[in-house]
Point group: C2
Chain length 397, copies 2
């Protein structure tokens, strides 16, 4: 049984704050602060250029990739870190399309994170070969998979509602139709059990600043199924994906296996923070996380619906169909969230009208859920959100 | 007159080390260590998700881009930070090719950093429209610019020899032939005066971990000439380059100006380190840096040639034709560099046979040059490099 009182002590949560936004940016792991300080002073400061070998910087994208791999059911040597999630989406989609060259349709849904769709649009335009991005409603995806589809590109958990796709079933349907499947695990990794191997995903990508607590703008990851490792062409063919980066050949030759998905120089400081953040998962059973996450989300839904009649549930009611987040709709959602934040309950707002809350058992328990409901109910019943100061939009909402 | 004793005090150089590898990885600025510690504890730890507005994280790629802009002659709003240099090369080259759609040749040289060539090869293969990468010798570039060339893609300072291209003259020739020019400033930014405006460069890219001391894997920058800002299509069209990222539209619309070259979530911890590192340039006159850099390099060449007959100069003898680094050739270059490092003189090795030294006036002076020569001469005259331990190659050379 996972001891969540132990994991909770690993994080810094400011006094007076109920932090329900770990689905957007995880809080600071105390070990990450210490590790980065050590990295700066002893590794960069003390070892200088020698840190590439001496402090293991060069291998970090693979060693940390293997740690992420354990959380998503990927074997050793199939996950590597680097860049941002948007870049990883580009890599995965571009490689997948080349593995299915006769077909022209990329199938996605309106619940995919917009950046994934934007990256696909940009890529398909660059290719200039008549590819089409087909975007259907989430519940129509299964029926839309046919023999025109080259690549099915989906995010497992909807960033707005928390609605969970069945990765294994949809991947199976894609394969049966001769398509490849690219999965974005941004809202899944660290939130629920994932098994990319059992699901037979072709590619998977994700970020590490949400449930994995790697810090703002932490590096992304890419998984390539073993069966594609030696055939997927790295379209962003940077020198660290070369078979022999330090030979400085003029011609590119892809590295062996997952190394080819490396591109530029790895972000060492950020990787140090992430590496320390991942220590929190030692001794954690993801099945326990999932059980507790559903329990907390269920409790939140029940209490909010009992006490805030004006809020409309925007997430699946069935825990099994939901990730680790819950959202409610209200025309004044933006102002309501600002009023909550002013009272120390931090969630976020997603246009046009959703207030969104993430439940992260590593550092959130029943007391925080009940405390948040209390404040939300107070704000709703007294209309405390109805102030000009709460309606002014900031750059980042 | 720039006070280099002031700038020297801003950096941490380990005792007993003569650091001549700032052209590969700049040393730790003391302010960066402090700034990152504060960022971790107060911004991430204290502000959590609110840091995007409250701590200015969201705007960092632009505010820091403007600081870099001042060092390369770029006006406000034309430089933005993010990703790695390899990714920025992809962005710049892909956009430039679309601005010159009738032509098929990318012209570069064998002195370009291999990653730039690899990225070009990967991109051209993806495009699948018969583009060709033509790689000539550095001294043949001018003559090779003709009306078949779509984009001239060069690195201003050769990473091996320090040989300096004439950015303004070659860009002028490219424009006269109807080509665009993409410049990689990796070994120029912070090393010598640059004026992308006067040179009329179309795009410029660079990294910030060398002469700008941003730390291992620090974020890259991209400059887009004002005349292309509203027409260059961002091919890596991520959400933060969208005109309204937080509207979460399903369709991509490029942001205004340089914002469109943003892609994924910015690397906040790394940007904090870089921002602090850039403080070192306040009050520094780049003309003074250039004068001092040439003086130090000249001194090094003169002394090494006088004392180490076996080493062959691999850099231009004329300071005006050279960046801020010097290399020498020797068949046992790798072992010689290891022997130097064992004695506390840190430079690096570049295959097949070059030992390379960077001279960075912000923290290197005459005493370090003479100290390094003393040790190098000792190693060469006594053949101290001729040991098995110095011939074993590490992962990163």
């Amino acid at each position: 049984m996972t001891d969540f009182s132990r994991t909770r002590a690993l994080f810094h949560i400011p006094a007076g704050t109920i932090y329900l936004d770990g689905n957007s940016l995880g809080p600071l792991p105390i070990a990450a602060k210490e590790r980065v300080a050590r990295m700066m002073a002893e590794e960069w400061g003390g070892q200088l250029i020698k840190g590439w070998n001496g402090a293991g910087w060069f291998m970090q994208p693979r060693t940390i990739g293997n740690r992420i791999g354990k959380l998503i059911g990927a074997p050793e040597g199939t996950v590597v870190m680097g860049d941002t999630l948007s870049i990883k989406v580009h890599q995965a989609l571009a490689s997948a399309l080349e593995l299915n060259p006769e077909r022209k349709v990329v199938l996605s849904d309106s619940g995919n994170f917009p950046s994934d769709l934007y990256i696909a649009q940009g890529l398909l335009k660059s290719l200039g070969r008549g590819h089409v991005l087909k975007v259907v409603e989430p519940e129509e995806v299964g029926a839309a998979i046919d023999e025109s589809v080259a690549v099915l590109m989906l995010t497992e958990v909807d960033y707005r509602t928390g609605r969970l796709h069945d990765m294994k079933a949809l991947t199976g349907r894609a394969h049966a139709a001769g398509a490849l499947a690219v999965w974005d695990l941004a809202h899944s990794a660290g939130a629920l059990p994932i098994d990319v191997t059992a699901a037979a995903a072709d590619f998977a990508v994700g970020c590490t600043y949400k449930y994995l607590n790697g810090g703002p703008g932490a590096p992304a990851f890419i998984y390539v199924a073993p069966r594609h490792l030696e055939t997927a062409r790295p379209v962003l063919s940077g020198w660290l994906g070369h078979a022999a980066p330090f030979a400085f050949d003029l011609d590119y030759r892809p590295g062996a296996g997952i190394d080819r998905m490396r591109c530029g120089t790895p972000p060492v400081i950020a990787l140090a923070a992430l590496d320390a953040a991942l220590d929190a998962w030692e001794g954690v059973d993801m099945a326990d996380v999932r059980r507790q996450s559903i329990r907390l989300c269920d409790l939140f839904i029940r209490e909010v619906e009992a006490r805030c009649a004006d809020l409309t549930l925007n997430s699946p009611r069935d825990g099994a169909a939901r990730g680790s987040q819950v959202s409610f709709r209200h025309p004044e959602g933006y102002a309501i969230m600002q009023a909550l934040i002013a009272r120390g309950v931090i969630g976020d707002f997603r246009a046009p009208d959703a207030i969104r809350f993430g439940f992260t058992p590593l550092y959130i328990g029943e007391a925080e859920v009940m405390g948040a409901v209390e404040i939300l109910a107070d704000i709703m019943t007294k209309r405390l959100w109805d102030k000009a100061e709460f309606k002014r939009k900031a750059a980042v909402t």
